[in-house]
Amino acid sequence: MKPRTMFQKIWEAHLVRPASADTPAILYVDLHLIHEVTSPQAFTWLREKNLKVRRPERTVATMDHSTPTTPRGRDGKIQVLDNAAALQIAALEKNCADFGIELHALGSDGQGIVHVIGPELGLTQPGAIIVCGDSHTSTHGAFGALAFGIGTSEVSHVLATQSLLQQPPKTLAVTIEGTLRPGVTAKDVILAVVARLGIGGGNGHVIEYRGSAIRALSMEERMTVCNMSIEAGARAGMIAPDETTFAYLEGRPRAPKGAAWDKAVAAWRSLPSDPGAAFDREEKFDADKLEPMITYGTNPGMGISIGGPIPAPSNATAEKALAYMGLTGEKKLLGHKIDVVFIGSCTNSRLSDLRAAAGIFKGRKVAEGVRVLVVPGSQAIKKAAEAEGLDRVFREAGADWREAGCSMCIAMNGDQLKPGQYAVSTSNRNFEGRQGAGGRTFLASPVTAAASAITGRITDAREMV
């Protein structure tokens, strides 16, 4: 048999019908995740057409985007003050109840950012096809799943038929060999990849991240890498499952148990790309040469190493970006004053991210005038962080410790920048206004964000240890 990539193996195992000259492939979906923002219209269409959800047990819902992260009231409940958000949340509750879908409702133990809770619950498994009406579904590819974002029309397709029409994408191998130097994190790796590929450089492709530097990453770090595949235009990013993957999954609530576990692991071992499997394209990186990264512009591809100069603008779009950011080409970003620091989002809100940030905050104080928001990705992470006292470290440093959710990553839940403010953010998008109309975002790792919070200026965390 011809050597196959991991992508091909998963694709072929899910073909209800292969593509023909006239029709795309029909793919079977193993796991469908939904949230309140991109699903309501899909349920409306189901009702209009009198359709049922074909496999309700294969869809899991949570609330994360429009939910507030402000502390709970005395009754232990999270208050939703925004009417439109409350309606959207109520709509998801009703839709899940009417159609028999498992819901991790606001404030419940299983609630959190959709891409954080899937892995946490053990729902995200190697070899699966996972979709969600959300572009960062690529996160789940860290487990050797084929996971990609879909639109709301497609959400209705999956609800009604558990299937999707898809044209086969191309494959791109991103190979990163070597060892990351101290102070260089998974976030820096993916910011460097996106900076090289450019924001549209991965269009039409599924990325497989490979090489010794990738193998050495923990599952949480792998998720950070796969999460931002879409920032290079690639709908999916994946990493071959290995012992690290199995160790993370074993014992999780929804992972297989007993004999089923052994059987699953045996099957998962056959997923990695075969030696000699051909990719449509390959990009190579030297891990030893990577530096902490930060973005300076208005898309995630506009990244530089933290000590480097801002590139001189090469066209009108780049000029527009610098004008929006209030920055000048050829100057350094290091030392630039900031107003806000946001630590959270599906990219960097997991326990290891919080620990890394806490390592910097411990025994230090946030610079005067800087607002710092630390937002755990899920209720489970919140609990775990509190159990080891991280919340106290953040609070004592002068940071806000919040309820779980997307928070300032998307600014549709009350957490947002004011016009003109500068933020160092561990999220994934620095688009104009993404964190609040007129707000200006520098994307970076949790340690860079924490170090910058302490000094009030963009800071290389390596100078702080």
Binding site: I26, T38, A84, Q88, G133, G151, L165, N315, F431, A437
Partner: protein, 192 residues
Amino acid sequence: MEKVNLITSRTVVLPVENVDTDQIIPARFLKATSKIGLGKNLFADWRFDADGKPKADFILNRPEASGAAILVAGDNFGCGSSREHAPWALHDYGFRAVVSTSIADIFRNNALKNGLIPVVVDRAVHEKLLAAPDAIVTISVEDQTLTLADGTRTSFPIDPFARFCLLNGVDELEFLLAQEPAIAAFEKSRAG
């Protein structure tokens, strides 16, 4: 779904690259539970100032843009978030096609399901379109062609199935529902 084939209109030129879906429709407008009426918030932060007044220099606020159904934009249009609200907003506003040198994958998929035609042209044609705002252009889904007023014609790629659905007003969901036997057989084969 409505049938779509010929679109003839003046163009509106937005010569910005990497227009992301957060610009097309900012997240604060995603709290709607319906897809109707999003056009009023299309490009909200580029169209209106902080007080909600139209910014005179933004292209959609200029008189010549009124009624145009074809948007010509820079490279990599529609990147970022998967929100289908982006094509909903463009369509609701009155656009029926977006022309660029490249269009992001999820946006393209979403657009095709909503009667908004993603048209990818080569750099030479693109330059011509950028240089001639307000040009009258005809797009044919059936012929997969874009024709300029001077008769220059260029063809563009479109997924054959999406083209079939557009020309015949077929909803992809109807097609998938008709595949029930194959889906059931697949489920059965996996259970075994």
